[in-house]
């Protein structure tokens, strides 16, 4: 058992990546480049991939549950590539309707059925993470027209699209730029993305040199999320130190003495420490005079609210 203190960072041990792009661009090959990979082949396209490793061919959801519950199951694998997540959701949908036909009248999910699908997919990916697996979701792309603008998104049906985008820590679009294959995690007005690591677009290496590409990227992504968590924890500690100073300030003069220092704080701290001081002073009955931009003794006539900035 490990206890993480309230002001400590929480590591993200197993990030979820979503990569989408055109058919044939090499997404399944990337799926095999994760560490100790198992590719769940929902799309029946794995035979076209290079650098092939272990593959679970999925016809029905029973293939997945049977494999996960059998003998060693997922134990030998560090990473699970879901190829494609759109087809995975189709297979999951068929299983939901098979189990509970009233959730899928005429073969299409009812509103309640969509809710069940979203919950079930979320639970499944959470289970994979809790088993210590990195998860790579692969999707085809889908082009929507917005006026004259093309917007490319992962091809995932209905309400499941939002669920997948919620779950994914990283979302990257794989496309051709001239003769180069490029993987870009940056959101633009032409495609969706998530880029917690702040990566520049990657030119993908030739297939023969890409055997550990995603393994490396998942490690870097894990490190980036860890850095984010640590950075936030550091600011939390600074915030808590300020809280102590502020709550020890019981007069207008003491509150005013903090203002010059607060004004020099970085953008993430300044607004919250400023608000913390104003809220504290108000609760302590120390009014803030907006025109003077200073706290005044309670006897003076001033409004008890405002901003230091």
């Amino acid at each position: 058992m490990r206890i993480i203190k309230a002001t400590d960072s929480i590591p993200v041990d197993h990030p979820v990546f979503l990569i989408f792009g055109q058919p044939g661009i090499g997404k399944s090959t990337l799926g095999y480049s994760t560490r100790d990979a198992l590719l769940m082949d929902f799309d029946k396209g794995a035979h076209r991939a290079a650098n092939r490793r272990d593959t679970l061919v999925v016809d029905t959801w029973a293939d997945v549950t049977e494999f996960m519950n059998a003998g060693v199951g997922l134990d030998p694998y560090a990473s699970i590539s879901v190829d494609t997540v759109g087809r995975c959701l189709d297979v999951m949908t068929a299983d939901i309707i098979r189990e509970t036909p009233k959730l899928g009248p005429n073969g299409n999910l009812s509103q309640q059925g969509w809710g069940v699908l979203k919950n079930r997919f979320r639970t499944w990916t959470a289970t994979l993470r809790s088993l210590g697996k990195d998860v790579l979701l692969i999707a085809h792309d889908k082009e929507d027209k917005d006026g004259d603008t093309r917007v490319v998104r992962p091809d995932i049906v209905g309400g499941s699209y939002g669920e997948v985008m919620k779950i994914a820590d990283f979302v990257g679009y794989c496309y051709m730029s001239g003769r180069d294959r490029v993987l870009d995690f940056n959101p633009t007005d032409r495609w969706v993305g998530k880029n917690p690591a702040g990566w520049a677009p990657f030119k993908l290496p030739p297939v023969g040199k890409a055997q550990a590409f995603m393994a490396d990227l998942l490690d870097k992504g894990r490190a980036a999320l860890g850095t984010i968590s640590e950075a936030s924890a550091t600011v939390v500690q600074q915030t808590e130190a300020w809280r102590e100073r502020i709550t020890n300030s019981t007069t207008a003069a003491q509150c005013n003495a903090l203002i010059p220092e607060i004004k020099k704080l970085p953008p993430i701290l300044q607004p919250q420490i400023s608000k913390m001081l104003v809220d504290w002073a108000a609760s302590a009955g120390i009014p803030f005079d907006k025109s003077k931009k200073a706290f005044v003794a309670p006897a003076e006539d001033a409004e008890p609210v405002g901003s230091l900035l």
């Binding site: 006026g147 603008t149 993430i268 607004p271 608000k275």
Partner: protein, 209 residues
């Protein structure tokens, strides 16, 4: 000029090539600060007030704010999402050239910024992701992460509000974010200048100085 992120988001939405639900008159009203809240906005505002400071709104079995009632079961999960050590409604400003953009973060704790949104419809990830609001929030407050909490509500038309679900997701800074913000702001400044609304926004900047 002094411009709010909500005004910039209205401009961005109005500028979308295929949109036909927002008139230019409505956009200009927003820029001028004329705003008539819709029932959905009033519901969101009431919910937000309870989320921020529940105690003043406590009544037997739940919370009441304005014309809306939220029972304990509806508010339990939303209230549990919030780290009470953080601050609500923190304001900040960033200067872009000669212009000031002002923003208000729903909740800040450490380097983590959270935005609370309500909808009486369905969850639409792209609607929130495409928004310039979180981008300006990131550019102005410089958090490491923005978390959106979307509360799907139903007031059944009688003010008794039920929580249908919560959708939460994280968004992150990216290298071209500042440039995206600056470009949108530049288009907005050109537009208000063309429409003769720049004086109003300059006056606001002078008043705030």
């Amino acid at each position: 000029m002094r411009i709010s992120t909500t005004t910039l988001e209205s401009f961005r939405l109005w500028s979308q090539p295929d949109q036909d639900w927002m008139t230019e008159e409505s956009l200009i009203d927003t820029i001028r600060g004329k705003f008539v809240p819709t029932p959905a906005v009033l519901l969101g505002s009431a919910f937000g007030q309870v989320l921020e400071t529940p105690e003043p709104f406590k009544v037997d079995g739940g919370y009441r704010c304005g014309d809306y009632t939220f029972d304990d079961a509806t508010m339990a999960e939303p209230l549990a999402l919030i780290d009470r050590r953080g601050v609500f409604e923190a304001k900040a400003m960033r200067r872009y050239g000669d212009d000031d953009v002002v923003a208000k973060a729903d909740h800040l704790y450490g380097a983590h910024l959270s935005e609370f949104k309500t909808t009486t419809g369905y969850f639409d990830y792209d609607k929130y992701e495409a928004s310039c609001q979180w981008r300006f929030m990131v550019d102005i407050f410089e958090p490491v992460k923005v978390t959106y909490h979307i509360f799907r509500l139903n007031d059944h038309g009688n003010g008794v509000v039920e929580l249908r679900g919560i959708d939460s997701f994280d968004l992150y800074p990216y290298p071209a974010l500042h440039q995206d913000c600056a470009e949108l702001l530049s288009r907005f400044v050109s537009y208000v200048t063309l429409r003769g609304l720049d004086g109003l926004l300059r006056q606001r900047q002078a008043d705030a100085a």
